[in-house]
């Protein structure tokens, strides 16, 4: 019973990493590429692809249990600088994605409360999340588990209600002409690519194992189980959307779940959907803010980022500067995205970066197997090496294709992505060089004073 409970906890953490308010907007977008049974197939196949990725991530996690994910895995595989480059890229993605997520969620709430100011709503959400993190208020794992399964079961329930309430029934799901006028079968590949983003974030469970034993079976199993739950949830919900809403109601509508909620539950059904969106957003925000701030803290403690970032409050024991940095960076980027209507480009960029990260993780496993075959691995991916490599290549191509998936936005998205990569590269080279220079300073010349200011602890640098 205890083991089952622990497994459920890890599954919930994995699902929580992938859940996002923007998932509903992604589904709406996918329905412009493929409809009916082809969309459902795309979701299933994408989920299976993510299961392949999860096996590779699980092997890396078993080699470095409790380690903070990408920084450690990629450093082991590709060396310090490459790891830093990809880690900085991932960290730059966090506020960008926070902007997308907050926009979609506030749009959903605005659908229920039309007089709501998006700028104020986004600002309030960020301030609340930052404040909770600064106060050290953590959502207990059990509570997170309840939140996540409430969300999943609710969405599954809504999907089933929508299907049962349909006059035609699920067996009548047939591909129909998409909004773009294309044939759904040919768009299956495109829909698969888009559907991958519904599952991204499932790997955030890997640093959260409670013991070394968790990395042998529990965490490796939790990720594909989580993806399985997500497949079921999105398939049922998409089927419900397809059966109950018209293409006009879905296409271009970033909050189709509000329409569906009203259809099923009556005039106040949109309240229920808005609540679910907030639930999804909170799990993403919490994990993103905490994860990113801890990672920046760790990189600062390594000596790469400035030491003032690793200052810890004596009263709370929290790295308050990194929390403030990540939180307000997210708020700034969110407001910029809102003002210039950049959330679509931001979503494409985040998706492309994620594809690159997944690709890197996939290639890391066979590379480490060749280079360090004797290293301890409590779990080994059952996926053949060739297949891991093939999926890695697919992810790279997918990332590139994603940037150009919206023809009108492709050029600007690509340019923004290139700029982010260049910025990340410059940051890596400069900071790593500076850290290496400090390391070769003779020991007697090093400053090791600890400055204590108003209850804070820091390195004099």
């Amino acid at each position: 019973m205890k083991k089952l409970s622990q497994l459920a906890e890890y599954v919930a953490l994995s699902i929580g990493g992938a859940l996002a308010a923007s998932s509903f907007a992604i589904l709406s977008d996918l329905l412009s590429l493929a409809t009916g049974i082809w969309l459902l197939l795309a979701i299933v196949l994408s989920g299976v692809l993510c299961m392949v990725i999860s096996a590779s991530v699980a092997e890396l996690a078993s080699m470095y249990p409790s380690a903070p994910g990408i920084r450690t895995y990629l450093k082991a595989a590709y060396g310090d600088r490459m790891s830093l480059f990809l880690t900085f890229l991932a960290l730059l993605m966090v506020p960008i994605f926070a902007g997308v997520e907050s926009y979609i969620c506030m749009l959903t709430i605005k659908g229920v409360f039309p007089s709501l100011s998006l700028y104020w709503a986004v600002t309030v959400v960020f301030v609340v999340v930052i404040s909770l993190n600064l106060a050290g208020i953590e959502i207990p794992r059990r509570t997170q588990m309840v939140m996540v399964f409430t969300f999943v079961l609710s969405v599954i329930g809504i999907g089933i209600c929508a299907i049962c309430g349909s006059t035609s029934g699920i067996l009548s799901i047939a591909p129909r002409e998409t909004a773009g006028g294309g044939v759904s079968l040919l768009n299956l590949g495109g829909a698969m690519g888009g559907a991958i983003f519904l599952f991204m974030g499932f790997e955030w469970v890997t640093p959260l194992g409670r013991s070394p034993a968790a990395y042998k079976h529990m965490i490796p199993i939790s990720m594909p189980l989580a993806i399985g739950f997500l497949i079921l949830m999105f398939v049922l919900f998409s089927a419900g959307l397809t059966l109950r809403l018209t293409p006009v109601q879905i296409t271009g509508n970033q909050t189709p779940h509000l329409v569906l909620g009203t259809m099923i539950f009556g005039p106040r059904g949109d309240y229920a959907m808005a609540f679910l969106s907030i639930l999804a957003m909170l799990t993403t925000f919490n994990a993103g803010l905490m994860g990113a701030s801890r990672l920046i803290y760790g990189i600062s403690r390594e000596g790469v980022l400035p030491p003032w970032l690793s200052q810890v409050s004596l009263s709370t024991g929290l790295p308050f500067r990194t929390i403030l940095l990540v939180g307000f960076a997210g708020l700034f980027v969110a407001l910029v995205e809102l003002y210039y209507n950049l959330h679509m480009q931001a979503a494409l960029i985040c998706a492309a970066i994620y594809c690159l990260l997944y690709s890197s993780l996939l290639f890391a496993v066979p590379h480490l197997r060749r280079r360090d075959a004797a290293a301890k691995r409590s779990f080994s991916s059952p996926v053949p090496t060739v297949l891991q490599g093939a999926v890695g290549v697919v992810m790279l191509l997918l990332g590139f294709a994603t940037v150009f998936s919206k023809i009108a936005l492709g050029r600007t998205s690509f340019l923004w992505l290139c700029q982010l990569m260049v910025f990340s590269l410059i940051l890596t080279l400069y900071l790593a060089r500076r850290r290496d220079k400090r390391r070769i300073v003779p020991p007697q010349a090093k400053i090791s004073t600890v400055i204590v200011e108003g209850g804070e602890v820091g390195d004099a640098g």
């Binding site: 249990p65 409790s66 760790g298 024991g317 204590v452 602890v457």
Partner: protein, 123 residues
């Protein structure tokens, strides 16, 4: 336990005792550890030794040479890495990020443990 093993075990144990004394003497660390009740279990992966720090009332109350019941944090590493981390010769955050040191704890507890090294040695 053989003579060599005893010597190695004693070396690390001495290091841990020394660490405990330093932590308990430091007023800022006592503030950091106020209201923090944890058992930090240290598993030495290459020698099989186990130690446990008992944190309570702002200090390390005891060092045991065995696992202890309580709200646990688990640290795992080789003997040399343990000795370097607990003597200030190795930055624990670097060891953690490199995978040399495994820390099974909540994010907050991880940061708190690391902050002890930052206060004591500035690394």
């Amino acid at each position: 336990m053989g003579t060599l093993e005893a010597a190695v075990g004693m070396g690390l144990r001495t290091c841990l005792e020394d660490f405990r004394e330093k932590v308990n003497r430091h007023s800022r660390i006592r503030t950091l550890l106020k209201d923090w009740k944890r058992v930090v279990v240290i598993e030495v992966t290459d020698t099989g030794e186990t130690f446990a720090f008992i944190f309570s009332d702002g200090e390390i109350k005891d060092l045991k040479c065995e696992a202890v019941e309580g709200e646990q944090i688990l640290l795992r590493s080789k003997e040399a890495t343990c000795r370097d981390v607990f003597s200030g010769a190795l930055n624990p955050a670097t060891a953690f990020l490199n995978g040399q040191l495994e820390v099974f704890a909540s994010d907050r507890d991880q940061v708190k443990l690391d902050a002890i090294a930052l206060i004591l040695w500035g690394i």
